[in-house]
């Protein structure tokens, strides 16, 4: 696992470019209902959270797949479904706690994010960098830095507010 799709919901502006670009790239049409990624929104609270397969180390989808259609792409680290083997039973959809596998209602099969063969289009289109395709090692430090930033902001507030 060289790189991972790093999600930072706090940076998401809710524009849905990721969904649009994903479906245009993967399905050759614009249809968010067919995109592998979806921005879940709580509009009246201003909360936007991109939901996409997190490419688990021990993929539950792979475990439950009765026909062994799911495997890991060694090159990209993505957990992928072989469409020729998949029978469309949707057990993976049922069991995935991250809603990482979707029903393709047009073709009656299951699809999921395959990291666009190592060049995820969603991250490419995400200007605010809520989605970044980065080295796993970098991701750790990014997360730590973000946490430290929050801590330092909190400290500033505590120091100025008696």
């Amino acid at each position: 696992m060289e790189k991972i799709l790093f999600i930072d919901p706090e940076k998401c502006t809710g524009c849905r470019l990721c969904e649009t670009a994903c479906s245009l790239h993967n399905e050759k049409v614009v249809n968010p209902a067919l995109a592998r990624i979806h921005v879940a929104k709580w509009e009246t609270a201003g909360l936007y959270i991109p939901v996409v397969c997190v490419q688990c180390e021990t993929p539950i989808c792979q475990t439950v797949c009765p026909v062994r259609a799911i495997s890991r792409d060694e090159k990209t680290g993505a957990v992928v479904i072989d469409p020729n083997v998949c029978v469309g039973c949707r057990l993976c959809v049922l069991y995935c706690p991250f809603a990482g596998a979707q029903i393709d209602f047009k073709k009656g099969r299951v699809v999921k994010c395959d990291l666009c063969n190592g060049e995820p289009v969603c991250a490419k289109f995400c200007d605010p960098q809520a989605l970044q395709y980065v080295k796993a090692t970098t991701a750790n430090m990014k997360k730590q830095r973000a946490a430290a930033q929050k801590f330092s902001e909190l400290m500033k507030k505590l120091l100025v507010t008696p």
Binding site: R16, L24, V29
Partner: protein, 629 residues
């Protein structure tokens, strides 16, 4: 195929819905969005129709490029005869409604008649039904959307709705979607209200097939990089449109205390960076990398914590500079209030500022204002007037009809203090130092407005060689000059008309950034998305056609050269403060009239502003109304 989206005619008096294809010829001549909407209005509305009668037609249209992953392609154009001005009404709304409508199978809706009781339209994958909205009537614009989602158990439903303002036929009521987006101007919300139409709710899951998907995707990425590569878009992505305030207030281009000063000297708290105290991030419309609005929390006028989005530069003026309120917090609260009620922020602020000046001058007294003391800078008066306008209570009922009827009721020379064109309030910008902007608000087809033609780059003092290249003719780089400015306005009008017709965002073209996507980029995007080929010249001609047809609509309603005018104060009162480029300026009446002559000539309109027969023939408008759709 992307062009197979339909047009639906909905008659609310009879509940009849007819779906038809959109002929290719309509696309070639008018593209979509504002282009096709203007055609529909000219063809479906009889001259002298009462805008609040069932005979008025509300046209709703997605842009030709709606749905593509760039340039904020989710804009929706909403048009009808305006109950505020009696001229063409047209307002553009972002958010996520338009792509959802296209995904549901429709590009245009033509709504006529009047429902017997409150209703909403439910549009889902090719089907349109009229639904009962009794339970939604009286709800604010946020709650209405939430309730529809709950009723139908689907959080991804997108609705355009009216609030109490639209229900009460406030003549500048808007149509809203999401937390922030509004089709704000010309009173389209009142038209919905007059039809008993509370909302249009949409859910779509059909696929939009573009002509060249892979090339389109690559080019869209290039377009996003191009716009966010401009310094203007970068600044806007951080501060929103409020960023304009820093520049215009320093220069002296902001009307303060209605029209008494042109700079808000005590307006430090309104500087955009102060939004940081309330903001926890920005928010974007569909397919937008600029994300020009903030997500903020603040305690409302009752002390309750609220969440809101924005505010726009417009609101800084409406509830700040124009009414002399000095706190960012006031802007945020008032912004939330008008959004909740569904009334236009700009018109509301303009009217309140006017009333305050009338009160100061003794033209309005406590007796007429229900005892309210309309003192400058009193935020509580602002909140109270917003409420009174939206609910049409007492003095609010007078303001709720807009400038022209309010002037008729108040009299006593109150018209002199009203800063409006064709009955619509101007932005809080002061155009006395900038002849180009002044010409733009005077000639705008929908009344005083900055989004019809404003050449904002005129303020930058760009090299004249560059300006000549962009505007295809000589243009002075001096923002106080009158030279070449009609050409600027003419060019921007066509660009904005085409932008509204393809449904991308005006902030992602030549509004404030000269190196932003424009004609050639539009041409390539249209080719990749639809397969249709348009040269730059052809697109410019479509812009001319749209603007000319709007002009024809207004002429038919009795508007003429006399209405392409500025408030008297622009000619009489010099700007009192500001930097040298802004201080001591008036608009010179003679030179203004000369600009108007030049502007008409560029359009091939005669000296009364009437398009010549040759111009109409060239644009294929000589047979209008042609009733094709």
């Amino acid at each position: 195929m992307v062009l197979n989206r339909k047009i639906a005619y909905v008659n609310l008096s009879t509940d009849k819905v007819v779906q038809k294809p959109i002929p290719r010829e309509m696309r070639t001549l008018h593209l979509g969005g504002r282009g096709i909407n203007t055609y529909l209005l000219y063809n479906h509305i009889q001259s002298k129709t009462d805008p609040l009668s069932p005979e008025n037609v509300l046209a709703i249209g997605t842009g030709l490029l709606c749905g593509i992953p760039c340039l904020g392609s989710g804009r929706c154009d909403i048009a009808a005869k305006s109950p505020l001005t009696g001229a063409i009404g047209d307002s553009n709304i972002g958010g996520f409604f338009a792509p959802e409508l296209r995904l549901a199978g429709f590009d245009h809706l033509v709504i006529s008649g009047k429902a017997a009781k409150p209703v909403y339209l439910w549009i889902n994958d090719g089907e349109i039904t009229v639904e009962d909205a009794s339970h939604l009537w009286g709800q604010d614009t946020f709650e209405t959307q939430t309730m529809i989602r709950k009723d139908r158990d689907d959080e991804d439903i997108k609705s355009i709705v009216i609030g109490v303002g639209g229900e009460n036929l406030v003549r500048f009521a808007n149509i809203r979607t999401g937390m922030k987006n509004s089709a704000g101007r010309t009173g389209m919300g009142a038209v919905m209200g007059s039809k008993n139409l509370k909302a249009i709710a949409v859910r779509g899951t059909t696929s939009i097939e573009y002509a060249h998907p892979d090339a389109l995707l690559d080019y869209c990425k290039e377009m996003n990089d191009m716009i966010i590569g401009t310094r203007w878009a970068k600044a806007q992505s951080k501060w929103g449109t409020m960023i304009i305030y820093s520049n215009t207030n320093t220069t002296g281009l902001i009307r303060t205390k209605n029209f008494q000063l042109n700079r808000f000297e005590e307006g430090e708290d309104l500087e955009p960076e102060n939004i940081d105290r309330y903001s926890f991030g920005t928010s974007g419309c569909y397919a937008c990398v600029v994300h020009c609005r903030h997500r903020y929390t603040v305690k409302d006028e009752k002390g309750e914590q609220i969440f809101g989005e924005g505010p726009e530069y417009t609101s800084l003026g409406a509830f700040g500079t124009m009414v002399n309120c000095k706190k960012m917090e006031t802007i945020l609260k008032a912004n939330h209030l008008v959004n909740k009620y569904g009334i236009d922020t700009l018109e509301t602020g303009g009217l309140i500022a006017w009333a305050m000046e009338l009160y100061e001058k003794g033209i309005l007294t406590d007796k007429q204002t229900d005892g309210l003391k309309l003192e400058w800078g009193d935020e509580n008066v602002v909140y109270e007037l917003i409420r009174k306008i939206a609910t049409r209570e007492g003095f609010g009922n007078i303001l709720a009809d807009g400038f022209k009827p309010a002037i008729a009721k108040i009299g006593k020379g109150s018209d002199y203090y009203a800063i409006h064109v064709k009955g619509m309030s101007n932005l809080h910008s002061d155009e006395r130092p900038t002849p180009s902007f002044a010409l733009g608000i005077a000639t705008s087809t929908r009344g005083a407005d900055h989004l019809r033609s404003r050449p904002a780059i005129d303020l930058y003092g760009l090299p004249e060689e560059l300006l000549e290249e962009v505007y295809e003719g000589p243009v002075s780089s001096d923002s106080t000059s009158y030279e070449g400015k009609p050409r600027m306005i003419w060019w921007q009008e066509r660009l904005y008309a085409v932008t509204d017709a393809i449904g991308t965002c005006k902030f992602q073209t030549v509004f404030c950034a000269v190196h932003a996507p424009k004609w050639n980029e539009y041409s390539k995007l249209i080719q990749l998305a639809t397969g249709m080929e348009f040269s730059k010249a052809q697109l410019m001609e479509i812009g001319e056609r749209i603007y000319t047809l709007e002009r024809l609509f207004n002429l038919r309603e009795g508007f003429s050269r006399k209405d392409d005018a500025l408030p008297e104060r622009y000619f009489k009162e010099p700007t009192p403060i500001g930097l040298p480029a802004a201080k001591g300026k008036t608009i010179d009446k003679e030179r203004f009239e000369k600009m108007l002559d030049e502007y008409y000539a560029l359009h091939s309109w005669d000296q009364n502003g009437v398009p010549t027969k040759e111009a109409l023939e060239r644009l294929g408008l000589d047979k209008e109304p042609s009733h094709t759709i």
